[in-house]
Symmetry: C2
Subunit: 358 residues, 2 copies
């Protein structure tokens, strides 16, 4: 079994802590290890043959640095794409590498920037998915929804046959409006699309060939001899990647294939979409405030804030429902319900060409 | 004429920019020179014989450093009190030093941590005060009030004799309540007590002897030969200062003496009592926000904020009437109308013994 961690994402909603060269997966949003490191740590117990981390050139150095501590425990391979092209090319490339060595090898695909509270349950769910994947199914983990989230995609399971799954997937659904989300929650057979997949390397390549023939040809044109060692790999694929279209494996394969099944996963999952998600994963203090990375947090007449302090002191006086994030060189202050708009701050910095702070 | 700058104050309301070893007078609240440096710069045109800066041991080094740039322009003396004992001992000590060399020398006493917009008018007003001081009067500058401030002390002038002053002072008044402040503003003969004084060194010493005889004796016991050079001065007065009572020159002499006169001063003065005073001295941007020390300030749906950014970026999104101050290692966020309570944050830090941030 091979772990493939998709760690090449970029994002702006955790600015100012996340930056272009240090996006969400490479930062420690709460205290302790980074999101990528937590992702690696939660699968070590599965004893994977290899852990393959797909990143890109810009983040390669920091990713390498963060992974170094695990090399004594498991073989860790770094695949640095010349540019990010969404998940389909990354998944396809990893599958092509695995299939060379181990045609029926199982791939567990994990995003590097999601939060999972219950690691034990994740591993149990993965074991179940691996079992079905051996028979050629494309398995996806469907998160048991706990609220009518409008920020997640959903998948509808065919639960006619009772039991704990796996279940066939009837359809994938884009982020719904509030009403639809409520209906999904009530229906009981809708799950959040986690982006966690399990399949045989040869299964996914066959489906890519079927539904994404151009990508399949492009992957075929890459010379992949002796490629666990990927030192000189990126240069070889730069030209090919320049022509590869940006596509998600969800849209490219999963929504079309009839080989898709899902396993319900009740694992305390969050995609941590913005600073406002911090209370989902951290305990609040007695004032309802969540505090990360502070030598001390001084709260006077304040409540329900979200505070990240770069190892220093943050003081709020008479502030409520407010996000305060400092990185030393940059500070963000906004109401909790405006957290989605932090990307607009980054847009503005881009327009001002303040690349130092991006 | 001698300039005596009282620069030994401590304060907490500009935390986190001001710290114990770097209080308000030693920081640059807006961009550019520090408050102390601005104080020196506004009197250089008066061509003083010497500029004497009274500070204390804790702030001596930083004060020395900030004054070094002026030594080529004017003789600058540093008097470091072993401990701060309010203004009366500082004024008395400076007077005792001056009187040794120049018995009828005129002292202009200036606090180091006040803001004055109109330097030209200050100098004109001081010239007028110096004229009266030569005849032995204790002159004080009364700031023409522009609002019913409850944060300042007032002085009541006897303006029976019309003209532009000087006027006799009837009485000094502690910080009034709102109603009294409104009455003062309406009456027309009440002025804000600026703490800017002009007198002959021998005049103030005579009044100290009359109204503060104990302090006079203590000052007499200090050996003051060749004291412009004050290198070894502090050690000599440590024991004496340990016994000196903490008293203001206002309370100790000005409120009692019948030799006090005032000159109205319309000089754009503010004592800059807290972060909420920043809009009095800085132009606001089109959103009504005042910004200091920022490489860039990103304002999205925000207005009327007060922002100080330690040379980095501050972003506010959906914030109004809010103070945001960052020093890299510490961040303060509070509503504008809570600025007076910043000292409570410092109290808390003291209780937590977080001396690094004090």
């Amino acid at each position: 079994m091979y772990i493939v961690i998709l760690a090449g994402g970029s994002g702006t909603r955790f600015w100012p802590v996340s930056r272009t060269s240090r996006p969400k997966q490479l930062i420690s949003i709460t205290d302790g290890p980074t999101m990528l490191q937590r992702t690696v740590e939660r699968v070590l117990d599965l004893k994977p043959k290899r852990i393959m981390v797909v990143t890109n050139q810009l983040q390669k150095e920091e990713t390498e640095h963060q992974l170094s501590r695990y090399r004594s425990v498991a073989p860790v391979d770094l695949i640095a794409e010349p540019v990010g092209r969404n998940t389909a090319p990354a998944v396809g490339l990893a599958a092509a590498i695995i299939v060379l060595h181990d045609p029926e090898g199982i791939m567990v695909v994990l995003p590097a920037d999601h939060y999972i509270r219950n690691d034990e349950e994740l591993r149990a769910t993965l074991h179940k998915a691996i079992h079905s994947a051996r028979n050629g199914w494309l398995m996806t983990l469907g998160i048991v929804p706990v609220s009518p989230e409008t920020g997640y995609g959903y998948l509808e399971a065919d639960m006619a046959l009772r039991g704990t799954g796996p279940f066939p997937v009837r359809r994938f659904m884009e982020k719904p409006d509030r009403e639809t989300a409520l209906a999904c929650l009530e229906a009981g057979n809708f799950f959040w699309n986690s982006g966690i997949f399990v399949w045989r390397a040869d299964s996914i390549l066959a489906e890519i060939e079927k539904y994404m023939p151009e990508l399949a040809l492009q992957l075929d044109s890459i010379t992949l001899n002796n490629v666990w060692d990927l030192a000189d790999f990126t240069g070889q694929i730069t030209d090919i990647y320049a022509r590869i279209a940006s596509q998600s494996i969800d849209y490219g394969v999963m929504e079309k294939s009839d080989r898709v099944q899902m396993v319900p996963a009740d694992i305390g999952w969050s995609d941590l979409g913005s600073w406002s998600a911090l209370p989902d994963i951290c305990d609040a203090n007695e004032d309802g405030t969540v505090v990360a990375h502070c030598a001390a947090y001084i709260s006077l007449d304040s409540s329900n804030c979200i505070v990240s302090g770069n190892g220093g002191v943050v003081a709020t006086l008479g502030m409520h429902d407010t996000i305060v994030v400092s990185t030393g060189d940059a500070v963000l202050v906004c109401p909790r319900d405006r957290a989605q708009d932090v990307r607009k701050v980054v847009d503005r910095l881009q327009k001002m060409e303040l690349s130092e702070y991006l």
